[in-house]
């Protein structure tokens, strides 16, 4: 009698130890999440920081972003690679030169940036880090062409060869 009881108890103990969580449903959720994340994967590898006060225009373009110097322009500020170079609250005395076509603080920062990149590419001897002459322009959609033209002129006079207008993709 004692033996039978012990066998019964062993079975019960075994049952208690064998308890397993059913992870099939968890795996289902993760696979769905995986598909969703693969869809939103950024294959270009370029991350763009859009500061507060900039609303990008919508476009049907589907060209991937290219690495380069990022120039962010809002109604009252200009940043170069997320570093503020111009603020309307604190305007310098000589804001424009070259017959009012060139923005001086932006030009100074861009030339400094180009020199930095060139110096870095010489030090590292890495072709990937060379100055490609690409200016990524993140501009607020409400800004007028006369101001955008000044930004473009400043970039061109600093030595940039290509503009990349960063836009928001439209749902297609």
């Amino acid at each position: 009698m004692a033996r039978t009881r012990s066998i019964r108890m062993q079975k019960r103990r075994k049952k208690a130890n064998n308890f397993e969580l059913d992870i099939t449903s968890l795996l289902d959720i993760l696979v769905i999440l995986l598909i969703f994340l693969i869809k939103s994967y950024n294959s270009s590898g370029v991350t763009m920081n859009i500061p507060e006060g900039i609303e990008l225009p919508k476009s049907s373009s589907s060209s991937m972003n290219t690495p380069g110097v990022i120039i962010q322009v809002s109604k009252d500020k200009i940043w170069v690679d997320s570093v503020a170079v111009l603020d309307t609250k604190n305007l310098p005395q000589n804001l424009y030169d070259d017959n009012g076509k060139r923005i001086v603080p932006l030009f100074n920062e861009l030339t400094k940036k180009i020199e930095e990149i060139k110096k870095l590419s010489l030090q590292t001897n890495n072709q990937a880090k060379e100055f490609g002459g690409v200016a990524n322009l993140i501009i607020d959609k409400s800004l007028k062409y006369s101001y955008v033209k000044k930004v473009m002129y400043t970039c061109a006079s600093a030595g940039f060869k290509e503009y990349k207008f960063v836009v928001m993709g439209e749902e297609q």
């Binding site: 994967y41 859009i50 225009p57 049907s60 033209k149 473009m152 836009v167």
Partner: protein, 177 residues
């Protein structure tokens, strides 16, 4: 009397299951990796080259350059072609007082049909438009819509190749002025 397999052993046989834990581990790592590199806002770019001013004479070519230029005036799009440029067509604003993007694109499709190799267009806004409107015009001159007439290019290897873009190399002509 035939031998009957004990119920406990039968149950044990059914219990053999695939071990999902390593798969789960791998999926978790993948989820973290993708979460870090995910881009939830779709951001793209429109390319534009900086115009180069040269004092040298252009190379002599038998074929006349198209030199397609679109002037954006307060009331219309003015399409100009050739060197020296001459007006090809003027597209006035529509009845609602908006720029007629549809007519501009259909005119450009006609120009593209006779100049399939040409990719460059020069934009010259003479009016202080908003950046959003400029981007809209860039979209119009760049892309052939599905509803537009199909244009094919002759290729020695592939035969007739469907052209998907209108004038994708956009330049701003009056930046330096």
């Amino acid at each position: 009397m035939s031998y009957r397999v004990p119920t406990s052993r039968r149950k044990q046989k059914k219990k053999s299951e695939l071990n999902l834990i390593p798969i789960l581990d791998a999926v978790f790592i993948l989820v973290f990796f993708l979460l870090m590199s995910a881009q939830f806002v779709k951001i793209y770019e429109i390319n534009s080259d900086v115009p180069i001013i040269s004092t040298q004479e252009p190379p002599k070519d038998k074929k006349k350059p198209l030199a397609l230029t679109i002037e954006i005036t307060p009331n219309a799009f003015v399409i100009k072609t050739g060197v020296p440029s001459s007006i090809y067509k003027t597209i006035a604003k529509n009845q609602e007082g908006q720029y007629d993007h549809f007519r501009l694109r259909s005119e450009l499709v006609q120009i593209k049909k006779s100049n399939v190799e040409e990719e460059t267009v020069v934009l010259e806004p003479l009016v202080d438009l908003s950046y959003e409107e400029i981007v809209k015009i860039m979209d119009t001159v760049r892309k052939i819509e599905k509803t537009d007439e199909s244009i094919y290019r002759k290729d020695k290897v592939d035969g007739d190749v469907l052209i998907k873009t209108l004038f994708s190399k956009i330049m701003f002509g009056n930046i330096m002025s």
